[in-house]
Symmetry: C2
Subunit: 369 residues, 2 copies
């Protein structure tokens, strides 16, 4: 067993604090990673606070993990000791279902779906015949820790052109926005709308611009309008939009694709009239019930509203390579892990521009009980 | 001017009764049609009762119109006197916008959109700069009348293989379901779900089966389960579906496409877990605000919810030809126009199987004031 240390919380209402624990040694197909950096995702907070109702405690978040391979199993061929690698939201999947076989591990249809980097494996109540949560032997512990052990194909290569700490948020925020833009055909000349300008919206806009799209960012924050301009996008205050069709708005019927990155329930109806005929608005930020959508508006120009969940392994490698090639990265703010609880408060208030990344060198085993 | 007679209502709360009126003579590009049959669509009732808040009175419904050409303008080339033709929901469009030029007249982006067969032209308040309804010179009168005058390209050819009275409902109910099935790629081997088994669901299921799809019909009416079997589909009671993912339901993750034909607000969430990865549920029956959709479910398998509005002229001709070729038609019940007000009540109660068609020979000019 590997002696490990990380930051975890024991309840929905307590702070994260150091926890000593053990990880299994790498199996033949697995690699051991010395974690160097881990991004802080809004999902970490939802999960730590049990806001999705399925949290297993202790809960040790972290699914934007970058580090160096320190050991490899006997059958590993993709990585070698010393390689810089990244791990996102998944550390395994069923490998048997059609999506897994076709490389859509993030849409795994196995009985437990994909194995989450933290808070897994389990069968959630809504998927269980007896409607109770079923937990496996392990409650997976995520990347807020000094060491991680994963199947080699779930570890992505960090390209030389990316600063490792800036690569971390690409493993969740990056691929969560890259994957739908790719799936719905964003390309040079596309008119793309991005709703929300936080950790997801920032990287989505930069990537869309690098793809050759013209990007409009909708934000409720006046002060972010200048920042939109600075990255080459047009910022539009959300309050300029009407609830229904506004023939005086030049943005009406102008977008090939709109991506909402807002991590909470919000009204989609002001954005629907902005879609071109046959275009789709994708909601990747809010995974709860959507506010009622006006189907007369959808029908009038054959529009749709769709969901998208992170991205598959191939897309994750692609987004790392794409950002390295185009010199794109999040604005990041490095964090001492001892400040993680304050950082959560700042994320919840929307105060961080645009992504916290924990410097795992600040994690000391001697701080744990 | 042409002296005409039809059935119209003067208020949202009054019955339809005979009305004498005048139609303009056919312009060079127009044809005059002696109306023989007109289908009764649920939309007729919504419009007559001002349930969409935009009705201009007198309101003379009818947009499933079949009849013989009795006169043609000097420039007409498509039709000749004596031809059997049909007119659906549209009698013109702007002809200038991209959708019109690309043959998607039903998604016309002109300032007034397409010209409705009845209750047009107008600029509805939500599209008008001053937020008031704007009416043109005419309030178009629909097919509950003895004569109709339309641009020749908005009159479709009724194939010899179709009974004219059975062709009538194809002009709205038929194309409204055919168009989304075509757009979203229903083909031989597709697994198709149809929600609701009225005038739209009946023809949608028959057409999908003729395309080679396997069809499941979801209905709240126990007695319709046998009828589903009779046309070659599987009937499933809606109450068998759970609100959330049901791993014990063999229909989970099994549909390439689901079409809701229900003409009123209903919960979409029980159907979303039945969609395959990347599949879409299209709502063509209810044009109001949809009930809240669970985006966690949409995101889990990259599903979407979309709208679709009738179909273009090419699709309308195609659906007439397709149904003639495959021997498909609605179950229709012929109606004396004097019984139209009772028929509306039956439609509202869901008592008609599956479409009323008015026999316009029952309309007598001498009944009008």
């Amino acid at each position: 067993m590997i002696q490990a240390v990380g930051y975890a919380t024991n309840h929905s209402f307590t702070d994260l604090k150091p926890l000593k624990f053990e990880r299994d040694e790498a199996k033949p197909n697995e690699v051991t990673i010395d974690v160097m950096y881990c991004g802080v995702c809004h999902s970490d907070i939802h999960q730590a606070k049990n806001e999705w109702g399925n949290t297993v405690y202790p809960c040790m978040p972290g699914h934007e993990v970058v580090g160096r391979v320190s050991a490899v199993g006997s059958a590993v061929t993709r990585h070698k000791v010393g390689d810089m690698v990244g791990v996102g939201c998944m550390i395994d999947s069923c490998r048997q279902c059609a999506p897994c076989k076709e490389g859509d591990e993030n849409y795994c249809e196995g009985p437990n779906s994909w194995l989450a980097t933290y808070n897994g494996p389990m069968v959630p109540a809504k998927k269980a015949a007896d409607e109770k949560n079923h937990y496996g032997r392990d409650n997976t512990y995520g990347g807020y820790s000094n060491v991680l052990v994963v199947a080699e194909d779930f570890a992505l290569k960090i390209p030389a052109g990316l600063k490792p700490e800036a690569a971390a948020p690409l493993l969740c925020a990056g691929v969560t926005t890259y994957s739908p833009m790719k799936h719905w055909g964003v390309k040079a000349g596309s008119q793309v709308g991005i709703v929300g300008f936080g950790g997801l919206g920032d990287i989505a806009a930069k990537m869309a611009i690098a793809m050759g799209a013209t990007v409009t960012i909708f934000t409720t924050s006046e002060e972010k309008l200048d920042e939109a301009r600075r990255i080459g996008a047009t910022g539009v205050p959300e309050e300029n939009l009407k609830k229904e069709v506004d023939p005086t708005n030049p943005l009406t019927l102008s977008f090939d694709f709109i991506l909402s990155t807002v991590p909470e329930k919000h009204d989609l109806n002001p954005f629907l009239p902005l879609l071109k005929r046959n275009a789709t608005m994708v909601i990747c930020g809010d995974l709860g019930p959507l506010m009622p959508v006006n189907n007369m508006q959808l029908a009038s120009h054959r529009n749709g509203v769709a969901g998208s969940l992170i991205g598959n392994l191939a897309d994750t490698q692609e987004v790392l390579n794409f950002c390295a090639e185009h010199g794109i990265a999040h604005e990041i703010e490095m964090l001492d892990i001892k400040d993680i609880n304050d950082a959560y408060k700042a994320v919840e208030k929307g105060e961080v521009r645009y992504r916290y990344v924990i410097d795992m060198a600040t994690l000391k085993a001697e701080d744990a009980d």
